[in-house]
């Protein structure tokens, strides 16, 4: 306690100005400390794609198959995006699969049996999701039943509800033009390029604006080179994807032309942006992380923990409803198995593979999209290689287990090194 250095004003954190090398070093030490983020999913995606591309160069690498990947994985990805919110609290929703089935059945009944316009059916399906989520959330937060039990009961009950709604054993077709278009039609190539431009410019604007504000306020920032790299990376990835999707994929161009970005892609992209904004940029999102990280601390900070818990189940079931709509669109019908069999486990798998922790407090909506891509690639690639459904299930199970191990191990590592 010498008197020389009692007070030194200025920012508390005096660190050297940011450099690209320093940025890379920080990232590496974070990864080594157990904060692996989306790295396993991205690496897995690269490895899987390489393997399938070598084994089945003509079919896996075709533009048609690339478009298929999106429509195949869309429903699971959408459900997984909702599950991320529940997983962030360290809870689980086992009923999300059949909840999507119930919502799809409501959609089909409203549009086909009752004959209402498509948008009434969509609203009815989403409203059903909200009601389901509110009920589950109330049972968990207000009565205090573990979410595992509540949603397991939901899993069974909703399976029955789907059966009742589609009258045992039959199915209800969905023929409405708009609804069918969601998972089966494509954007005009020019529209695809226009949306890409909007996305890249929007992202660049947000990133550069943030960089400028922080520099102006004298706060520590990522080096501008890293910001530029991020923007460039997004532009390259989106540009390549849209270019490939805009290639002609019809077997016989004279009969019909088939090209463009599938309509589900912008649907997922918009929901991804909204979900990310809510989680990262609003206090509601901040409170979700807080409750997931330390519920008691959140309560003492004045956060209404129960409300947060109920709301994430509402979000999850609503996203399941959207997933159900996409599934109904893709199949052109709803049957007793819509949202059943492996849908839920694939969705949970997608979120976890993408890097969302089962222990709560860690995860992003983007994880669901990356993990959903991994699941879709496995399903698609193994199908092309002629493996049976049995083998696909086993492999997906192993991948999920691998992802959960990465989650558990990185957590242990983080505890040991004090980072997270």
């Amino acid at each position: 306690m010498t008197t020389t250095a009692v007070r030194k004003d200025g920012p508390a954190a005096v660190t050297p100005p940011p450099t690209v090398g320093g940025h890379a070093r920080t990232y590496l030490s974070r990864v080594r400390g157990g904060d692996v983020g989306a790295l396993p999913a991205v690496l897995g995606l690269i490895v899987l794609c390489t393997v399938f591309a070598i084994m089945r160069p003509s079919s896996f690498l075709s533009a048609g198959n690339f478009a298929n990947l999106f429509t195949q994985g869309a429903a699971v990805t959408l459900i997984a995006m909702g599950l991320v919110f529940v997983l962030l609290l360290g809870e689980i929703d086992l009923s999300a699969g059949f909840a999507s089935g119930v919502c799809a059945a409501v959609l089909a009944n409203v549009v086909t049996v009752l004959g209402y316009p498509w948008w009434v059916a969509v609203l009815a399906a989403i409203a059903t999701g909200v009601v389901i989520g509110t009920t589950l959330g109330m049972l968990v937060a207000k009565i205090g039943i573990p979410s595992f039990v509540v949603t397991l009961a939901g899993f069974l009950a909703f399976q029955g509800v789907v059966l009742l709604l589609v009258k045992e054993g039959t199915n209800i077709s969905v023929r409405d033009e708009v609804l069918v278009a969601i998972a089966n039609r494509n954007l005009a190539p020019t529209v695809g390029w226009a949306l890409t431009a909007v996305a890249v410019v929007g992202y660049a604007a947000v990133q550069l604006l943030r960089h400028r504000t922080r520099v102006a306020r004298g706060l520590i920032t990522d080096p501008i080179a890293v910001v530029a790299l991020r923007i460039g990376g997004l532009a390259v990835i989106l540009g390549t994807a849209v270019y490939v999707l805009n290639l002609e994929r019809s077997r016989n161009v004279l009969i019909s032309s088939l090209k463009g970005v599938p309509i589900v892609v912008p649907v997922i992209a918009v929901l991804l942006v909204i979900g990310t904004f809510v989680l990262q940029r609003t206090s509601y999102g901040r409170h979700i992380y807080a409750v997931g990280g330390n519920r008691e601390a959140a309560r003492r900070a004045g956060i209404e923990v129960d409300r947060i818990r109920i709301s994430v189940f509402m979000i999850c079931s609503s996203m399941a409803a959207i997933g159900g709509i996409v599934a109904a669109s893709r199949a052109n019908s709803v049957d007793p198995n819509t949202g059943g069999s492996n849908v839920l486990l694939y969705a949970v798998g997608a979120a976890v593979i993408g890097g969302t922790s089962l222990f709560g407090g860690k995860g992003r909506v983007l994880d669901a999209v990356l993990g959903g891509a991994v699941v879709a690639v496995i399903e698609n690639g193994m199908g092309l290689m002629g493996y049976s459904a049995g083998v696909k299930y086993v492999v997906t199970g192993v991948v999920l287990l691998l992802a959960a191990s990465v989650d558990a191990l990185s957590r242990r590592r983080a505890a040991a090194t004090g980072t997270r």
Binding site: P11, A13, Y289, R300, G302, T419
Partner: protein, 272 residues
């Protein structure tokens, strides 16, 4: 000196199930003073703090804030009054960074969007004002901080809000010598700036170094509240361990022979 106390508690009772942890507790806290709350392990200090901050509902008794009766039903009520608490079992979220923790539940926003630059700036200023220079980045997760660093973050969080009353539950228990001295200096500075401070500590040197008054809890009862200058080390220790200290501990109380604190054995069944 006899201005209205900032906070006055009267007849606070609190039970957890069959166990009565606080009985008929009274406490007055004055602005510009450090009130040390002492007592043995399990005496009920932390419980009393949690009652003041709205975490535990009280069974009976009343709170007066600035002389006005108030009801504190939730942590938010306490925060609105200007009461901030640094908890013994730290209330920080490991998965959030320093800035996020400091503003938790009271985030600064522009529109619906979080105003991160402003929060980061305010956090940096607060930490600098407390001469805290041990953290390398405001954006590191709290889980990567040492115990002492976490404690400083928790205190900075309490100070950030221009609070009127800051309660610190054993803030120096996990700190090294230098950081303890810094925290105590900080505690003193808060009081000198006109805040009311309640400091819970088991360390008598700390208590005598910074406090203006000492309140002693013994098995859930407030056995004495005296000026620090009117009492000795040994007497405080006796109050803590036996609930009484000859005539001197209760010398401020004229009828110190029968109706003072109850002998320990008559209530030993109540609290383990």
């Amino acid at each position: 000196m006899s201005a209205t106390p900032l906070l006055e508690l009267r007849g606070i009772d609190k039970s957890f199930g069959p166990v009565q942890v606080l009985r008929d507790v009274a406490l007055t806290v004055h602005p510009g003073e450090v009130t040390a709350l002492v007592g043995d392990n399990g005496a009920g200090k932390s419980t009393l703090v949690k009652c003041i901050s709205g975490i535990h509902p009280i069974d009976a008794g009343e709170f007066l804030f600035n002389g006005e009766p108030v009801h504190i039903g939730s942590p938010r009520d306490a925060a609105t009054l200007g009461i901030e608490v640094v908890y013994q079992d730290l209330a920080l979220c490991d998965n959030l960074d320093i800035v996020q923790n400091m503003f938790l539940g009271r985030e600064k926003r522009s529109g619906i969007v979080l105003d991160e630059p402003t929060m980061e700036q305010l956090a940096a200023e607060t930490l600098a004002g407390l001469s805290i220079r041990t953290v390398t980045s405001l954006r590191q997760h709290v889980s990567s901080l040492s115990g002492g660093q976490r404690q400083t973050v928790a205190i900075a969080k309490a100070v950030l809000w221009n609070s009127k009353l800051v309660i610190l539950d054993e803030p120096t228990a996990a700190l090294g010598v230098a950081q303890t001295a810094q925290v105590l200096e900080l505690v003193r500075r808060l009081a000198d700036n006109g805040l009311a401070v309640v400091l819970i500590s088991h360390n008598m040197n700390d208590v005598f170094a910074v406090s203006d008054r000492i309140a002693a809890l013994y098995l859930g009862q407030m056995v004495a509240q005296v000026k620090t200058t009117d009492i000795t080390h040994a007497q405080v220790v006796e109050l803590i361990t036996a609930g009484r200290s000859g005539g001197l501990g209760l010398a401020t109380d004229p009828g110190s022979n029968g109706d003072g604190p109850q002998p320990a054995d008559s209530i030993s069944g109540g609290v383990r």
